[in-house]
């Protein structure tokens, strides 16, 4: 029972991070029908940018204000990168064959990944303790302050995003563009602005996810983007890509699944289990759990 509760807590923590990153994938895919392969590398970049901002602007110390400042500054920097990425690598290819945009995304991923390596070096870096290391022992189950903050903060962000998408005018415009771009344009929606907005939101959420990864796992490397990015992308697909609550659900499911596999089976086969789950879900629900069943149009 202890193992169960412990892995439940770990799974929810990992799942929150997956969900935050998966939202970036799913929002971009929803409107542009493009797998943004560079998203995972932007997530990795955010951990390094956060590290840089913390050591150069604040030096040391752990206060809640410093942590908030680091998160905000990193999110701004990464969002600017995201908008720049869209402008340079994706906008010129909007009418090109879909595979060209995929290769452009792969190229962008290579640029960011190697850019991180050139700036910060290929070796593993240790992320600073922005948040004090506090642990609570709840009868055999150990939970850290970082875990609680990750879960709480992710939940708040996801609820805020959900309200934004469902209740505001901008959110409605985003949903309209993801259903049919041309029709949305005819209704007077500026699709270019929508895409920029999506990149700003998606990459800032990814930046928060990247900083959480740094805080939780401590060690950050220049090529970790693919590892977390791929998991987050799988989470988005499991939930039904393009569907925002789907990404949240998929992230949580995948996080819990990973944690229970690590707890009860073994972690050497973790990826094999993850992909088996993905393949089984796709065989029975080809568009994910919450994905809409699209009828073939003639």
């Amino acid at each position: 029972m202890d193992i169960f509760l412990q892995q439940l807590a770990n799974g929810l923590t990992i799942g929150s991070m997956f969900a935050l990153i998966a939202l970036g994938y799913t929002m971009v895919y929803g409107v542009m029908k493009l797998i943004n392969f560079a998203h995972g590398d932007l997530v990795a970049a955010s951990a390094f940018v956060g590290l840089f901002i913390f050591t150069n602007l604040f030096g040391s110390g752990t206060s809640i204000f410093i942590a908030i400042a680091v998160f905000l500054l990193t999110a701004v920097v990464i969002a600017i990168c995201g908008v720049f990425l869209e402008r340079v690598a994706y906008r010129p290819l909007r009418t090109a064959p879909r595979l060209s945009a995929v290769v452009s995304a792969l190229g962008a991923s290579m640029v960011i990944q190697n850019g991180i390596m050139l700036l910060w070096g290929p070796q593993l870096k240790i992320f600073p303790d922005l948040i004090p290391q506090v642990y609570w022992d709840l009868g055999g189950v150990v939970i850290s302050l970082i875990q609680v903050l990750i879960m709480a903060f992710s939940l708040i962000l996801m609820i805020a995003l959900y309200i934004f998408i469902e209740k505001t005018k901008m959110g409605t415009a985003i949903r309209a563009s993801s259903i049919d771009q041309d029709a949305a344009r005819l209704m007077g929606i500026n699709v270019n602005n929508i895409i920029v907005t999506i990149f700003v939101i998606g990459t800032s959420l990814g930046a928060v996810g990247g900083l959480f990864i740094g805080l939780y796992y401590k060690g950050i490397t220049f090529n970790m983007g693919w590892q977390y990015g791929l998991n987050a992308f799988i989470a988005a697909i499991i939930g039904g890509i393009g569907n925002i609550p789907g990404a949240m659900l998929g992230g949580m499911l995948l996080g819990l699944f990973n944690a229970f596999i690590a707890g009860y089976v073994s972690s050497t086969w973790a990826d094999a289990f993850t992909f088996t789950l993905l393949i089984v879900i796709l065989i029975f629900r080809p568009t994910g759990i919450l994905g809409e069943r699209v009828a073939e149009k003639v």
Binding site: Y29, V102, V111, L118, T274, T276, E296
Partner: protein, 319 residues
């Protein structure tokens, strides 16, 4: 114009390739051999990705399956490497059918991620040394080499010419595929799957066929690869390699000359710029983005079949 040059260009190309060893030192001969092997794998990726239009980002799996089949049969069971070749073609082809069967109905991006998944699971199987056969993270080494008549004293030269023969076979398959019933079926299928199935093409069978053929050719390349290095190890077949093959096909434009150019640009150029080791992939990423922006259909876009010019409407060049 270019179409007319092709009957002369290919023999010339092969003559040039055959005389290569005379000019290259051992290191560059090894690069040339690997260039040929990667070209074969890229061509096999093109059968699924370019001709069939299915987003194949897992080709390194079949490449590795062929290499490991040869290595295991050679190292553990003592078969001569050449004798393992049929197994190294058939087993990946069989896996192509088994793995593609349940997933070919998936739409583009879902298929892509599933194939990445298969590739990652494959690497994990190799690294965890399943059944004590795969040698774990170190792989299997100390394999025999295929000795061609007259080249028994120089294994490097032998590896080069073996690869060249395999490339010739692959190109023959590719050209015949274009003109065959299966090739036409795949072409229609890529253009419009629904229309293809409504004129009576069994899309599922042809999709699986494309996977099996691609996997078989990649498996053959795997044997040649095991022959060149007389060793196999998991990281050579990582999904990052699949991503590379995928990019080569799209950047090249999924035509045979385009794929040669693509492999040259993505594999040989990085070898030439080895001194700039830390910068080369950074610049490469930019090169990929700008190639796609300037030539969205690839450097050398493929054209299908030989449609008489009088049948083509103005402004539509047969694509």
């Amino acid at each position: 114009m270019i179409k007319k040059l092709q009957p002369i260009a290919y023999p010339l190309f092969f003559l040039a390739m055959m005389s290569m060893p005379a000019f290259l030192d051992p290191r560059w001969l090894a690069v040339a051999t690997t260039f040929i092997i990667f070209t074969i794998v890229a061509l096999s990726t093109d059968i699924v990705l370019g001709k069939g239009g299915m987003f194949n980002m897992g080709q390194a799996l079949f490449f590795g399956l062929g290499a490991y089949t040869s290595a295991i049969l050679n190292a553990k069971f003592g078969w001569p490497l050449l004798a393992t070749l049929p197994a190294a073609i058939l087993i990946p082809a069989l896996f192509g059918v088994l793995l593609a069967g349940p997933i070919v109905h998936l739409r583009g991006d879902y298929l892509l991620v599933t194939l990445i998944g298969f590739n990652i699971v494959f690497i994990q199987v190799l690294q965890n040394n399943l059944g004590g056969l795969t040698g774990g993270p170190n792989g299997i080494f100390g394999l025999d080499v295929i000795s061609l008549p007259g080249m028994t004293d120089s294994p490097q030269l032998g590896a080069f010419y073996t690869a060249l023969i395999a490339l010739l076979i692959t190109l023959l398959v590719m050209f015949n595929l274009d003109k065959s019933k299966a090739g036409r079926a795949l072409h229609y299928l890529r253009e419009d799957e629904l229309a293809a199935s409504s004129i009576g093409i069994n899309t599922r069978v042809y999709k699986i066929f494309a996977f099996a053929l691609g996997a078989g050719i990649a498996g053959m390349a795997g044997t040649i690869y095991a022959n060149q290095y007389s060793a196999v190890s998991p990281e050579a077949f990582d999904f990052v390699q699949s991503v590379l093959f995928f990019s080569i096909v799209i950047v090249g434009g999924s035509s045979v000359p385009g794929i040669f150019l693509g492999v040259f640009v993505m594999f040989v150029l990085p070898e030439i710029f080895r001194e700039f080791a830390t910068w080369r992939y950074f610049i490469f990423g930019f090169a990929m983005i700008f190639t796609m922006i300037l030539r969205p259909r690839g450097i050398w876009p493929a054209t299908f079949g030989k449609i008489p010019r009088r049948l083509i409407k103005e402004g539509n060049n047969g694509n």
